[in-house]
C-alpha cells in the first residue's frame, strides 16, 4: 500500500472504540435506569460487556495501526 496512507485497521479501530463507548454507556444507563426495552435475557446486560469488548478491540487496533511519521528510508524510497 502507499506508504503515507493510513491503514484501514486504524479507521476500524477508531470506529469500534466510539461504538464501544456509546454501547457501553447505553448499557450502563439501562442498568441504572431500567427503560421500557423488554428484550429477552435482559439480565445478562449484553450491552455492557459487548460495549467493553468493542472498546478493548477498538483501542488495540487504533494504537497498533495509528498513523506514524514517515521515516528516512521510506522518504528515500518515495523520492526514487
Amino acid at each position: 500500500m502507499h506508504k503515507k496512507m493510513i491503514s484501514i485497521w486504524f479507521f476500524i479501530g477508531a470506529l469500534l472504540t466510539v461504538y464501544g463507548v456509546l454501547i457501553f454507556g447505553a448499557g450502563i444507563y439501562d442498568l441504572i435506569v431500567p427503560g421500557k426495552h423488554n428484550v429477552v435475557l435482559r439480565e445478562l446486560h449484553a450491552g455492557v460487556w459487548w460495549g467493553a469488548l468493542l472498546i478493548v478491540v477498538g483501542l488495540v487496533y487504533t494504537i497498533k495501526f495509528r498513523p506514524k511519521k514517515v521515516d528516512e528510508p521510506e522518504k528515500k524510497d518515495e523520492l526514487k
Binding site: M1, H2, I8, F11, I12, L15, I23, G35, A46, G47
Partner: protein, 561 residues
C-alpha cells in the same frame, strides 16, 4: 421518516451509531481520493492490497444484498440445508479459484474477467461477456437497492425513497471519490461491522435455547421433518423441505453454480485481482473461504434458533393476509429486536445496512471497470490518456448508480421483474464458468469455440427456463423430478447449460484452428511455467492453507451430516 408499523424502533444512541457509520464511510472515500490518480489506482486499487484485505473484501462483496436476511429466512424455511450454500456451495470453488485459476488471472495482468476472455478467445467473447455482465450487474444493483429499501421500511418504518436515495448517494460518492480502493477499504470495515453487529444474536439465542442439543429438541417439538442434518435427508426429493436431491447439491450447486459464481463473477474476482503479488492473490480466496465457512454462525444459526424459540412465522403471502402474523423473511430483524437492547440494536441495524452497501459498492465498482475497459475503450479508435479513462470510470460510477436507482423504481412498479432478472443472472454465470475453465486448462480451445460455447450455453439456459414456464411438465425433464422447487430447478438448469457450453466449445474447437502455443503463455496451464513456491516455508504456501481449510470443511460436513 419512521412510522409505528415498524418491527423495531431506534432510540438516540441507535440512530447516532447508524449516522456515524454513514459519516465514516464517506470520510474514508474522500480521504482515499488523493491516492487514486491513475487508472491502476482507481480500477485496480493500485494492485497493492495485502492478502487479508483482498480476502476480506472478496467475502464482504458477497455478503451484501439481502444475504444476511435472505439466508436467515431460508434457514427458517428449509433448516440447516441452507448451509450448503456456504459450505459445498462456496468453499471448494474458492479453493479452486485460489490454487488453479488465480495464477492465470493474475499472471495475464488482466483487469477483468471479460479482459481475460479477450486475451484468450478474442474480442467477440469479451464483448458478449462484458455486455451481459454490465447489464446484469446494474440491474441486480437496482433490485438489491429496492429490496434494501423494502427491508428498511418493514424493519424501521423508513420511507422507501429516503432509503434508496440516501444509501445510493453515499455509495456513489465514496466510489466516485476513491474508486475500487475506497470500495475495498469500506468493504473490510463493513465486514467487521456485520460480524460485530450480528454475532450477539446467536450468542444470546444459544443461551436462551440452552445449547445446540436443546435447540434441536425444541425444533423437533415445534416442527415435523429433518431441519438439522445437512446430508441425511437429501437422498430423496420428497424427504426434505427443499425438495432437492443430493446430486443437485453436489453437481448443480457445488460443481457448477458456485464454481461459476466464485471463479468468474467479476464482482468478487475483481477484489482478488488487486492483491500485491501472486502469493497474496492465491491466499486471498483461501482467507475468504475460512471466513465464509463461519458465516452460517451469524446467518443460518439465527434462523434455526428462530425455529426453536420463535415458532409460527409464516410465508410472505400468508403473513400479508393474516392479522398480527410475521413472515419468516423477517426472522433476523425479529431476533435482533428480541435480544438487542439500546445501542446494540443500532449496531445490528448498521450491520444490515453495511451488508447492503458493500454489495452495492461491489456492483458499482465492477460495473465501472467493465464498462470503461471492456466496452468504452474498445469503441474508441483514438488513443486516449490514462486520466481520460479515470474520468470515464468516475462518471460511469454515477451513471451506474443512477441506472440502478431507475431499476429500483421499475421493480417497485413491476415486482415480477425481480424473479426474471435473478434468473437471467444465473443464465450467464454457469456457461461462463465452462468457457473460462476450458480456456485455462485446454490449449486446443479456439476463439470460435469459446464464443459459440458461451453463446450456446447462455441461450440453452434461457431456453430451458422458458420451456418450464410455458410447459410446467418439463420440470420432470429439466430438474429430474416434478417435485423440484425453484432452487432445485436452478441447480439442474445450471448443470445442463454448463455441459452444453463444454460440448459446443469442444466440438467447434476441434473444427477450427487453435492459436499457436507461443500466444497462450500466461493464459493456459500447459503453456505456462508457474512461479515455484518451493523456496517458501510450508506455512507460507497457499496450498498448505488450502489443505487446512479443506480439512475443516470436510470435518464440518461430517459433524452436521
Amino acid at each position: 421518516m419512521q412510522n409505528s408499523g415498524a418491527l423495531v424502533s431506534l432510540n438516540g444512541v441507535d440512530i447516532a451509531i447508524v449516522a456515524i457509520y454513514f459519516l465514516v464511510v464517506l470520510g474514508i472515500g474522500f480521504y482515499l481520493k488523493r491516492f487514486t490518480k491513475t487508472g491502476n489506482d482507481f480500477f485496480m486499487a493500485g494492485r497493492e492490497m495485502t492478502a487479508w484485505i483482498a480476502g476480506l473484501s472478496f467475502v464482504a462483496a458477497n455478503l451484501g444484498a439481502l444475504e444476511l436476511m435472505g439466508w436467515a429466512a431460508s434457514a427458517y424455511q428449509y433448516g440447516i440445508l441452507a448451509t450448503h450454500w456456504y459450505w459445498i456451495g462456496a468453499i471448494p470453488a474458492m479453493l479452486f479459484l485460489a490454487i488453479i485459476m488465480m495464477p492465470f488471472y493474475y499472471i495475464s495482468k488482466t483487469h477483468s474477467v471479460p479482459g481475460y476472455l479477450q486475451l484468450r478467445f478474442g474480442d467477440a467473447s469479451r464483448t458478449l461477456s462484458a455486455l451481459c455482465f454490465g447489464f446484469m450487474t446494474v440491474l441486480m444493483s437496482g433490485i438489491n437497492m429496492y429490496s434494501m429499501a423494502l427491508v428498511m421500511k418493514v424493519v424501521l418504518g423508513w420511507d422507501i425513497n429516503f432509503s434508496i436515495w440516501v444509501s445510493s448517494i453515499t455509495v456513489a460518492l465514496y466510489v466516485f471519490a476513491g474508486g475500487l480502493l475506497s470500495a475495498i477499504f469500506n468493504e473490510v470495515l463493513q465486514f467487521m461491522l456485520i460480524w460485530l453487529g450480528a454475532l450477539l444474536v446467536p450468542i444470546i439465542g444459544m443461551i436462551e435455547a440452552g445449547g445446540w442439543g436443546k435447540m434441536v429438541a425444541k425444533i423437533h417439538e415445534n416442527y415435523q421433518g429433518d431441519f438439522t442434518h445437512l446430508w441425511r435427508s437429501i437422498g430423496s426429493f420428497s424427504d426434505n423441505p427443499m425438495g432437492i436431491h443430493w446430486t443437485g447439491i453436489v453437481f448443480g450447486l457445488g460443481a457448477i453454480i458456485s464454481m461459476g459464481y466464485w471463479t468468474t463473477d467479476f464482482l468478487v474476482v475483481q477484489r482478488v485481482l488487486t492483491a500485491k503479488d501472486l502469493r497474496s492473490a492465491k491466499m486471498a480466496p483461501i482467507i475468504g473461504a475460512g471466513f465464509k465457512m463461519m458465516v452460517p454462525l451469524i446467518v443460518i444459526l439465527p434462523g434455526l434458533l428462530g425455529l426453536a424459540v420463535m415458532p409460527g412465522l409464516v410465508g410472505e403471502s400468508q403473513a400479508v393476509v393474516t392479522a398480527g402474523a410475521h413472515s419468516y423473511n423477517e426472522v433476523l430483524p425479529l431476533m435482533m429486536a428480541r435480544y438487542l437492547g439500546p445501542g446494540l440494536l443500532g449496531l445490528g441495524i448498521t450491520a444490515l445496512i453495511a451488508g447492503f452497501m458493500s454489495g452495492m459498492a461491489g456492483n458499482v465498482s465492477a460495473f465501472a471497470t467493465v464498462w470503461t475497459y471492456d466496452i468504452y475503450k474498445p469503441l474508441r479508435k483514438k488513443q486516449m490518456s490514462d486520466a481520460h479513462f479515470v474520468k470515464v470510470g468516475r462518471w460511469t460510477t454515477i451513471l451506474g448508480v443512477l441506472v440502478s436507482i431507475g431499476t429500483a423504481y421499475l421493480v417497485m412498479q413491476f415486482a415480477s421483474i425481480m424473479d426474471y432478472v435473478q434468473a437471467l443472472f444465473s443464465f450467464f454465470i454457469a456457461p461462463l464458468f465452462g468457457t473460462v475453465l476450458l480456456g485455462m486448462l485446454w490449449k486446443r480451445a479456439t476463439s470460435a469455440g469459446g464464443f459459440w460455447g458461451l453463446l450456446a450455453g447462455t441461450a440453452s439456459s434461457i431456453g430451458m427456463y422458458a420451456w418450464v414456464k410455458i410447459d410446467p411438465a418439463a420440470l420432470r425433464i429439466i430438474a429430474l423430478s416434478p417435485n423440484a422447487k425453484a432452487m432445485a430447478e436452478n441447480m439442474y438448469r445450471a448443470l445442463w447449460s454448463c455441459l452444453i457450453c463444454f460440448a459446443v466449445t469442444i466440438i467447434v474447437s476441434l473444427f477450427t484452428k487453435p492459436k499457436p502455443e507461443s500466444e497462450l503463455n500466461g493464459l493456459v496451464r500447459s503453456c505456462t511455467v508457474l512461479p515455484s513456491e518451493k523456496h517458501l516455508k510450508l506455512v507460507q504456501r497457499p496450498i498448505f492453507w488450502a489443505g487446512v481449510v479443506c480439512a475443516v470443511f470436510i470435518a464440518l460436513n461430517v459433524i452436521f451430516w
